[in-house]
């Protein structure tokens, strides 16, 4: 899959996961709502990584990958996967850029710190209404910043 279509796929997938999350959240089906909020954020961040932060869908050995990868100035490759890892990955990559609202959002709180993709296999992950509200707010904020980045041509 060429990178140009991967970034568009991630952009659309972010919206799809977000809408499903809100639908389930409104119906109080919290575990799956939470799952989709997490994927909405992951996909938005992956779209931004590919567009603005020099990530490619090429792994450390130069082969096509299902994940975005970045290479730092020391030649070290990083694979960007699920939350909560990708949250801090992007925060780190934005460090040193002045005036980034996204950077501020990612460093000021960590609502997905305890989010785990493996929770989808659990019988009933425990989720408070408070954490759900925080995660919805964070997902909304990140998807809004994702939209603005696509429109203005830069991470805001």
């Amino acid at each position: 899959m060429p990178p140009s279509s991967a970034q568009d796929d991630y952009a659309h997938a972010a919206l799809r996961h977000y809408r499903d999350a809100v639908y389930l959240h409104d119906d109080k089906r919290l575990p799956n709502a939470d799952h989709h909020y997490g994927f909405a954020v992951e996909c938005a961040l992956k779209s931004l990584l590919l567009r603005y932060l020099n990530a490619t869908m090429i792994d450390a050995r130069g082969r096509p990958s299902h994940y975005p990868w970045t290479v730092d100035t020391g030649g070290n490759h990083t694979r960007h996967g699920h939350l909560p890892g990708i949250w801090s990955d992007v925060a780190t990559l934005l460090r040193g850029r002045t005036g980034s609202t996204l950077g501020a959002v990612l460093t000021s709180s960590a609502p997905f710190a305890s989010w785990d993709v493996a929770d989808r296999y659990l019988k009933a992950p425990s989720l408070s209404t408070t954490i759900m509200t925080q995660r919805k707010a964070a997902a909304t904020q990140i998807l809004t910043l994702h939209q603005q980045a696509l429109i203005t041509g830069a991470i805001q």
Partner: protein, 446 residues
């Protein structure tokens, strides 16, 4: 392969995008003309009421993509109903109205969302709020498009003159890249420990309280109860660690992330307010603040002229570099709908008038200045007196220059090592009309 004569360049893209925006607005859609950081255009249409047919959207999309060349965004038409957060576009605080737009019934409104890397602070033009500047404090910017036109010397002369009239005056050296009025007014040993650059850096971390930022001008006796204070760009340092000016300057121009984030304009405004408060704490609230702005089309100048001052004195000498520069600036203000706001707060200064053929020089200067200011004046038929379009001869008009005479003796003056230089007769003669007029503008607002 695109041939050179059909290649769309930056300036060509605007009229193309605007023409399509006018067509979408004519259909009743509120339209935001978006330009991204590389200059590419898209149109955001508010299709929540009325709806846009997919045929119409596709037609506009194709037209823009075909006619804009490299200046077409990836998606040239964005519909509010498709956007994740339409309010982030249609209610953005950065939207500006298209100048001269008359919206009639069933006709949408066109607004512009221009995303530059820097320079956003040229618009909108405002004057300081009373609570910011303090009751009775007048903020005056001194700006020259081109450097080396005697701006810092004039700042000193004006500061001293106003102080001699009994005013408490604070001079801020905002020329961070090449500090001028700070070194001109303060001996090294009299310089405060910190400068404006320190406030900009420390404030970003909430660490600006207690900075020593101001000092009274060195070796200058002021008549009566007037006072002349200076806030330099660079400080003297603490003495315990090296003072690293460049390392700090490299960090001042960004916004500070946070909720809400602070723009560079906010940071600069806070620095000015802090200096004002520092003088008030040590003596009394300044009556006049003189902002010695840096030259060129730069963010500091943008914030200083557009936002921080009540009146901006625009310095210039009669040459094409000056007029091209002001023309570019005035064009940008006009295009962003700021013509009326900016012409109300600027006054031209001819800062290097040759003493030998003064009248002739000023006459030419005034005509060229008027031609340049016409960009900001209302375009009216001859018999229409409802708008603002002063004649070239109108002495009170913003374009009509206040003269400062140029003499070779002024070159290379070092205020600190030549105490009393400003009292010399040739200096007083050179600045006489400038000081009288500027003082009247500042103290009487007329």
């Amino acid at each position: 392969m695109t041939t050179p004569d059909t290649t769309v360049r930056f300036d060509d893209a605007w009229p193309v995008a605007l023409a399509v925006a006018r067509a979408t607005a004519a259909q009743g859609y509120d339209t935001v003309l978006v330009r991204d950081i590389l200059g590419r255009f898209s149109l955001a249409l508010d299709d929540r009421v009325p709806k846009v047919s997919s045929e119409s959207a596709d037609r506009w999309r194709t037209e823009l993509a075909e006619r804009l060349g490299r200046y077409a965004a990836a998606n040239t038409v964005l519909l509010a109903s498709d956007l994740f957060a339409p309010e982030a576009v249609f209610e953005s605080p950065h939207l500006i109205d298209l100048p001269g737009q008359e919206v009639s019934q069933g006709h949408g409104r066109i607004r512009v969302l221009d995303n530059g890397v820097v320079g956003e602070d040229w618009a909108p033009v405002t004057t300081p709020r009373t609570e910011d500047s303090g009751v009775g404090t007048t903020r005056i910017a001194l700006y020259g498009f081109k450097g080396g036109v005697g701006r810092s010397t004039a700042t000193f002369m004006l500061g001293k003159h106003l102080a001699d009239q009994g005013s408490c005056v604070l001079v801020l050296d905002l020329d961070l890249e090449s500090p001028g009025s700070g070194p001109l007014l303060l001996r090294e040993e009299d310089t405060p420990q910190y400068g404006l650059v320190d406030h900009l850096v420390e404030f970003a971390l909430g660490n600006a309280d207690g900075l020593d930022l101001v000092a009274t001008a060195s070796g200058i006796s002021v008549a009566g109860n007037g006072e002349l204070w200076v806030a330099p760009a660079r400080g003297r340092g603490s003495g315990t660690a090296p003072y690293t000016y460049v390392d700090k300057l490299n960090r001042v121009y960004g916004s500070v992330p946070g909720t809400p984030s602070l723009t560079f304009a906010d940071r600069l405004e806070q620095a000015v307010t802090a200096c004002e408060a520092a003088v008030a704490a040590r003596s009394r609230r300044p009556d006049v603040i003189l902002l010695d702005s840096r030259a060129g089309i730069h963010d500091i100048a943008a914030v200083t002229i557009s936002r921080l001052c009540d009146l901006a004195l625009l310095f210039g000498s009669d040459n094409s570099q000056t007029w091209n520069g002001y023309r570019d600036l005035f064009t940008a203000w006009q295009a962003s709908g700021q013509a009326e706001a900016i012409r109300d707060k600027v006054k031209m200064v001819a800062s290097m008038v040759p003493d030998t053929h003064r009248a002739e020089y000023l006459s030419t200067f005034r005509d060229r200045s008027w031609a340049c200011f016409s960009i900001l004046y209302d375009d009216l038929p001859a018999d229409d007196s409802t708008g603002f379009n002063p004649s070239p001869e109108d002495l009170s008009a913003p374009h009509s220059p206040v003269p400062i005479l140029f003499t070779l003796d002024l070159v290379g003056l070092d205020g600190v090592s030549s105490p009393g230089w400003s009292e010399q007769r040739f200096v007083q003669a050179a600045y006489d009309e400038f000081l009288t007029t500027a003082t009247r503008l500042i103290l009487e607002g007329a």
